[in-house]
Amino acid sequence: MILRNAQILFNKPMSTELYHLGLLCPDIAVSIQPGQFVMVRIRDSFDPLLRRPFAIHRLYPNDPPGSLEILYKVVGKGTRLLTTMQPGNSVNLLGPLGRGFRFPNDNGFVLLVAGGIGIAPLPYLAETLAAHKHKGPFVLWFGGKTSGDLVCVQHFKDLGFAVEIVTEDGSIGRKGLVTEHLEPWLIQQDELPKVIYSCGPYPMQRSIAEMAARLRISSQLSMEALMGCGVGACLSCSLRCRPPQGAADPHYANVCQNGPVFDGEEIIWE
């Protein structure tokens, strides 16, 4: 765990709501794993007070060396403020934090699922999986409210992924929710993946976990919670989970420390 100022390399709007933020932070870039996150202090002031958690979207080892990229969505005070930051300004990073995605040794079907801004951690995951030389197929299911939500699709295609698109308004791809279309499609495939990697809103994650249970495959779900510290010190970021082996009662896990990536079976859904 490292605390560092990181210079802003770029801060580019992809749409009115989505921005790519490039940061120079070699110490964190060199050690962070897919699915892990950083806590960002946007500026040296106490309004906003708390750091904001963001996943690593991509690493750019050479451009310049030690740079990393965050994809963020403007939702409130902190992210709105972030849009005003310019190259040359810096933010303060705490990371790498949390437990990222785990990779089984299996070399087969790789399935990623993203809902909206849930796409954020997946490019780095996809690159890492592609580098693992899995046999494939490589598939990303990507759902959004509307076509503008669907960023980075070309990057996945370049990595050899087939990209299946779903939008709630049907403006592009299938119409509806990812979770409605994914299961019927999956059942028709020649083989099932061993794991589904998924990041998206809570109801989607629950549906994915339930589907995975029905199909007897495992799921690795990147979860969100309001966070105070990001390191396990404050017990703010609770997620109700099944008792760890041996223990009797269900307990609250810390999303920041025991996650953010959980096995769907660990979670007690509300």
Binding site: M1, I2, L3, R41, P48, L49, L50, C229, S238
Partner: protein, 310 residues
């Protein structure tokens, strides 16, 4: 006084000696391990661990925190591993370190406070107990213990009679007159007072029309509450002869100095750890710089030196 002259930061709080006056506050630094990669614990004046109860507690339903202007609300609900797990799994990591370890504790009844004190007494590696009589976010009783001087007296007496460790009583700010529970704790034999715990607060989401916290009401902490904390610490210092630990909203060396100048012998840093995990180290070196800049050599030369024109 040159830039490198050695300065003395050590302070004494009755039976408790600290190498410097900067501690971390209960509930904001876990059991001491979570920030260890960034903060060498041995550099701190003391570590106050997350509040411990007799039995483990799973805490309140999420959401458990909400950010406010200059502060945050929390309703963790005193989640903790319980006395036995603490002694078995957490204390062994702290024991070898050259840093005073203070165990924050709370019970549901006066008797539980006493039992906890007895259960913690005599374990190597514990340097003091801090009684949390003030947590505002537990529904039954939590508010009452700290705001009723009679209950404060009972709780502190129960702890005092079951331990030989230095006893710190941590006061709640949610009272009309902070000097009354302070006096009650003094009468019951506490060695030290610490204040303030969080201020009861609330927030609502206008879109869903629901409370922001699962528990509806929570405790406000962070720089927003510093002026309130400072005022209460000053009131207690004028009314009591005991050493006082000041906390509430400290985020910088200037904040720490305000508490020391009005007479606090030490301070604790809570919420600011989340904002800047190394803030305690910055405060410690900032105190040294301040002393040099003022041409002083001992932190005790500034404690209690507020000049009130009158």
């Amino acid at each position: 006084m040159t830039i490198n002259s050695p300065v003395i930061l050590a302070v004494e709080l009755g039976p408790l000696r600290l190498k410097n006056p900067v501690m971390v506050a209960s509930g904001t630094f876990g059991y001491g391990q979570e920030y260890a990669a960034l903060v060498p614990l041995e550099n701190l004046g003391g570590v106050v661990v997350k509040g411990i109860s007799l039995e483990p507690r799973s805490g309140n339903p999420p959401p458990r925190i909400w950010e406010t202007c200059g502060g945050m609300l929390n309703s963790i609900g005193l989640q903790n591993v319980g006395l036995q797990t603490f002694l078995r799994e957490k204390l062994p990591h702290l024991r070898p370190l050259q840093v005073p370890v203070i165990v924050n504790l709370f019970g549901n009844t006066v008797e539980e406070y006493g039992e906890l004190a007895a259960g913690l007494d005599g374990h190597e590696g514990i340097d003091a107990l801090e009684i949390n009589i003030s947590c505002p976010n537990v529904k039954a009783g939590g508010m009452a213990f700290g705001s009723d001087p009679k209950m404060v007296f009972q709780v502190v007496s129960a702890v005092r009679s079951r331990t030989n460790l230095p006893v710190i009583t941590k006061l709640t700010p949610n009272v009309t007159d902070i000097t009354l529970p302070a006096k009650a704790a003094e009468d019951a034999g506490t060695d030290i007072l610490s204040l303030i715990n969080t201020v009861a607060g609330m927030a609502v989401d206008p879109q869903t029309r629901r409370p922001r916290l699962g528990n509806v009401v929570g405790g406000l902490s962070g720089p927003a509450i510093k002026p309130i904390a400072l005022r209460m610490v000053w009131q207690v210092i004028q009314a009591s002869n005991l050493p006082v630990i000041g906390l509430g909203g400290i985020v910088s060396v200037e904040d720490a100095l305000e508490f020391l100048i009005i007479g606090a012998k030490a301070i604790q840093v809570g919420t600011a750890n989340f904002v800047n995990p190394q803030v305690t180290l910055d405060i410690i070196s900032g105190l040294e710089d301040y002393l040099r800049q003022q041409g002083l050599r001992d932190i005790n030369q500034i404690i209690g030196t507020l000049e009130v024109a009158r």
